[in-house]
Symmetry: C3
Subunit: 150 residues, 3 copies
Amino acid sequence: MKQLVIIFSFLLLSSISFSAQSQTKPTFTGAKATLKHYKVLYVLNNGEEKRIGAILRNIKNAMEDPRIKGKLEVELIVFGDGVALYNKNSPYMDKLKDLMSKGVLLAQCENTLKERNIDKSTLYDFISYVPSGNGEIIIRQQQGWAVIHP
Amino acid sequence: MKQLVIIFSFLLLSSISFSAQSQTKPTFTGAKATLKHYKVLYVLNNGEEKRIGAILRNIKNAMEDPRIKGKLEVELIVFGDGVALYNKNSPYMDKLKDLMSKGVLLAQCENTLKERNIDKSTLYDFISYVPSGNGEIIIRQQQGWAVIHP
Amino acid sequence: MKQLVIIFSFLLLSSISFSAQSQTKPTFTGAKATLKHYKVLYVLNNGEEKRIGAILRNIKNAMEDPRIKGKLEVELIVFGDGVALYNKNSPYMDKLKDLMSKGVLLAQCENTLKERNIDKSTLYDFISYVPSGNGEIIIRQQQGWAVIHP
């Protein structure tokens, strides 16, 4: 009999605690990061200052997200009007070098240069080149990279 | 002999029907949905009324698509200017509650709040928070979720 | 002894050549395409001439990227304002037929037509229809297709 009382009390307490829990809001705090390694390709094809500032800030924010910090590989692919970011006269040199020092790969689409007759000598000499920005997106996505086009 | 005639007639009819079919346009009616479960993360980082209206409509349309209806899990991640959607003075409360009642997860990036000094008390109290919107996109994509940034 | 000198000279030269190489920039030339087949869904939901021109150019550039040329399957899904591309009075018929002849699948969202009371007879008769553009994106992404929304 004593055992039954104990069991019954336990069940009662459990149900109270359960109902208390179910009255609070669901405590969703974001997707759980269970992989050892994350990879993301950022896409910039816009030359507006606001957009360029936003993507550089986004990259830093993503690298600082506590869920993936220290586990994130980043590439930035630039095409179309976005090429303004890499122009030697752009005000972004320090920010780009900072990203590079953190391992971010800085890539420029060569198709854009052909279409706009832009010479590589007018762009920062520390960037890399890929045949086409769209090809880069397709290959990276199918390699399992996340792609963010802010 | 009679059998041969029948077989021959059958082959002839088949080829006519096949050729008739091949003369019509290819009848592509969209990707086939063969999975039991679909998952999509919608991304909003724009505060314009037109854009907010469009993303809420897009979510409803996706949930009604006969190919994936009843099999679709949806999360909406908001950052940047998109935070306007969750402001307690926004006109979207009914639509948000409707989406929530259908299982849509409503998430807000905490980085945006820090950068803009926005207090959580000014936002609807039924939403959830994640450390960074960009982190959410990266983790979800690598978990196999589709991501739509309209 | 002579052999040792040769070996030593060889090692010395190798190390010089290696050190020369390591002083140059890392020679990243884009993601490596190792799959036999690539698939991409292009998304158009904008009716501006500049945007339409850009997406058609993007598709051609992607198909010409030497890394994936001849291995790329393409679908173009149109919804929202993008429907302007398929209007019989649009100036894009030749470009669309050219893409079709290269195997590109041209698809239109039927939801857009309902929402805007657009009759199919006003659109090019060589296009295909899918229930919803957003459903198409979700299904394709979960089938492993890359998705590009320029």
